[in-house]
Symmetry: C2
Subunit: 446 residues, 2 copies
């Protein structure tokens, strides 16, 4: 055990972001002779690959998250701050923060800085589309989407007898972007409409819902081999999802989208098309790629600043000639690597092996009981891949409790097709939201 | 099976409110030759006796609720509307509603009307206190309280080193009203502070939190025999809750409360002191008691309107010379009774036995593993009463799934003292809220 005096001489490591990369780095430094400060805007770590299950009412927010300070509670060298970073002074080696609970602004000095701040939705220069086509990056996004989707069915039920045209628009769901999130969302909305809600309405048939998945590239799931993507496309079609590849979104407003010159009226448009890195690059004044990711060296440090590491979705990392995708395993491995480098540096070692990525493969679900997998050359599509997906995802969920609850809820949903979290909360708030969207929408067309 | 023509001649029963009373009435009419319309402002039924567990992060909102239309999905004679009642035209026998999903206003005609609209918090003429002392009546209230309580610990952690006085104010929790909800809230906050959060902070000791339970009457839990209430008081004191009986709240503002002339600075004040009935009495122009409850006849109809029933917290019902309390069993039994009367009337029977209440007893928890019970003369306090409480509450939770998840989460919490739903969402919103409270608060003192 280090004494208090020894501890106060230990180097300070500031980690910004409690996602996969940042939290892994913090945990890997739990026994190192450093003082760790982990800063996040939220009090919880989110298991992002399952956000779509919250958005489609299969899981509750608490099932896929864990309080950050609870995860690191046993690391006496680690403190957690609920705060927002406003800037970084690279010369004075200080992070400026706005404390989100107490409201104070202050500076946190560092000897080592790890930026793991993730990514936001990108609307490719059309930021005005965001209000009409929300994305899925946080629990707040997920519960807002859940409310929106469930309210669309309620509104259609109420309007069906008087205005069937409006009801059809309400029952049209457009998902923009056919990466893993877009494919999962489209598949799950189809399951909700065709199975979970099927007996619950009197005036509409939820199964008549139209679900359109729009992708600008020639095939969906660009990270997968074409043959697997073709199988996923076929599965989506069997679920009743219209898959539109080679299709560009030209306009998004309160009443729908324009794609390849065609007008699609829809009250629900979900954006899963692109990401832009968080402002870490701007804080540092560092070189970034077009998506705002910081160009890092092969040890994940920023050129000219060997004390600053950038990892996960915030970093532009080249591995074997290709850019690494924004997947959880990349962030996890980078978090572990950076912790190792810091431990070595503190121990006086100057030379470090460069970061090397171990690709365990990729997995995505497509609706119920179906997934595709590409694991080191092994290609799978169907039920076996889905079982693998379940095992992997439950294994990585933090904490035994969540694992158990999620497993049970999935088993239950498997048998009954039902969903445990079909709550519409803050209906009034949504009303205002919808009213605002309506008025902005008509304002545009006038 | 009734044909469509037969069905369209069947009497229409409109039930307003999907709480215990309204939902029970709707279910009991599932096979009756009537058309049922169930109207609620929310899409879900809430198991209100467990709301305090959501407010203290032990359960997720979805664990204690069920979508109303899913509960009655198999009743082909029943439709569910997500709508708000704006008024009742008792002459034309129409309910005027504002549809909360589609946005339309319309009228719903009825032959029988059941008003089961529940109750709101009452601030006894000090409605301006509501912003400083929120109550616990809905899932939105519960998640807002959860955010507030968890943020108080976060803010105290951030301010402890610079402003220990502010931190102490943040760690003071005042619960006003020592009925079952107030006692449960105070006990649970004590458990959260002394057990669940104990290892998670670096600058504050969560166990140093001060929890004050304020009650105007000479003893807590007025519905219980005095000896049991004394045992509950002793248990609360062992949990570290200060119990202040014979104490009146004279002022509530952004910085605390004034009780019996004494100033208590606190950033969290929770109101569990009184209820006022929903506006059903005003809709009807009927006679009400001081709390706004409609004075009903012994068959729960409104005098002069044998086709209008009022039940649950909205009704003032006298049973054996005493007014029935606003407990779930009363509402459940009244809902079943009203459905029986309607079935009899539709079958041509004019005389009905008056409503009679079967008192199964009362049960309340006081912290972990401790409850008090008063069951038909049998008085219990301690662990056995708590086991009984768990069994009863899980049994009444709607749906097998919720029962199982809740049971598991309780078992887990029992072993670990932990809480599964420690999420702070919409931190920004809370900031605005707190900022607003601050400014209003200072505005007052100026």
């Amino acid at each position: 055990m280090a004494t208090v005096t020894e501890m106060s001489r230990q180097p300070r490591v500031v980690i910004v972001g409690g996602g996969f990369g940042g939290l892994r780095a913090a945990r890997a430094l739990g026994k190192a002779p450093v003082r760790v400060t982990l800063i996040d805007r939220r009090n919880h770590h989110v298991f992002q690959p399952l956000l779509y299950q919250v958005a489609t009412a299969a899981l509750s927010p608490a099932d896929i998250s864990a309080p950050i300070r609870h995860v690191v509670r046993k690391q006496r060298n680690t403190e957690v701050l609920l705060a927002e970073v406003t800037s970084v002074d690279v010369e004075r080696r200080e992070v400026h923060i706005h404390d989100l609970a107490g409201g104070l602004d202050r500076s946190v000095p560092y000897e080592y800085l790890v930026l793991a701040t993730g990514a936001d939705q990108s609307y490719f220069g059309h930021e005005e589309w965001e209000q009409f086509a929300p994305g899925l990056k946080s629990l707040e996004d997920a519960t807002a989407l859940r409310r929106h989707i469930l309210l669309a069915f309620e509104a259609a039920e109420n309007l069906m007898t008087t205005d069937p045209e409006a009801a059809r628009t309400l029952l049209t769901f457009v998902v923009v972007g056919a990466g893993p999130t877009g494919v999962e969302m489209a598949g799950e909305i189809a399951e909700v409409a065709r199975k979970a809600l099927i007996a619950d309405f009197r005036h509409i048939n939820p199964a008549s819902a139209r679900i359109v998945l729009v992708e600008a590239m020639p095939h969906i799931l660009a990270a997968y081999p074409e043959a697997l993507a073709a199988q996923a496309t076929a599965k989506l079609k069997r679920l009743g999802v219209e898959v539109r590849t080679d299709t560009r979104v030209e306009e998004v407003d309160a009443d729908g989208v324009t794609i390849n010159g065609e007008r699609l009226t829809a009250k629900t448009v979900i954006w899963a098309a692109g990401v832009t890195a968080s402002p870490a690059g701007r804080w540092l004044g560092a070189e970034t790629d077009r998506a705002g990711r910081v160009m890092v060296r092969d040890d994940l440090t920023v050129p000219g600043h060997p004390e600053i590491f950038v990892i996960g979705d915030t970093a532009h990392t080249i591995w074997r000639g290709k850019q690494l995708p924004g997947f959880a395993p990349v962030a996890l491995q980078q978090g572990a690597y950076v912790a190792k480098v810091i431990r070595e540096r503190v121990a006086g070692k100057e030379e470090h092996a460069p970061f090397s990525y171990f690709d365990k493969g990729t997995l995505s679900t497509v609706g119920r009981l179906y997934a595709i997998a590409d694991i080191r050359g092994l290609k799978l599509a169907g039920f076996v891949a889905w079982v693998l997906w379940v095992v992997v995802h439950i294994f990585f969920l933090i904490g035994f409790r969540n694992r158990f609850v999620v497993m049970f809820q999935w088993a239950w949903a498997f048998v009954t097709y039902q969903r445990g979290a079909r709550l519409i909360t803050n209906v009034g708030e949504a009303q205002t939201e919808i009213a605002r969207r309506e008025s902005v929408g008509s304002g545009w067309r006038r």
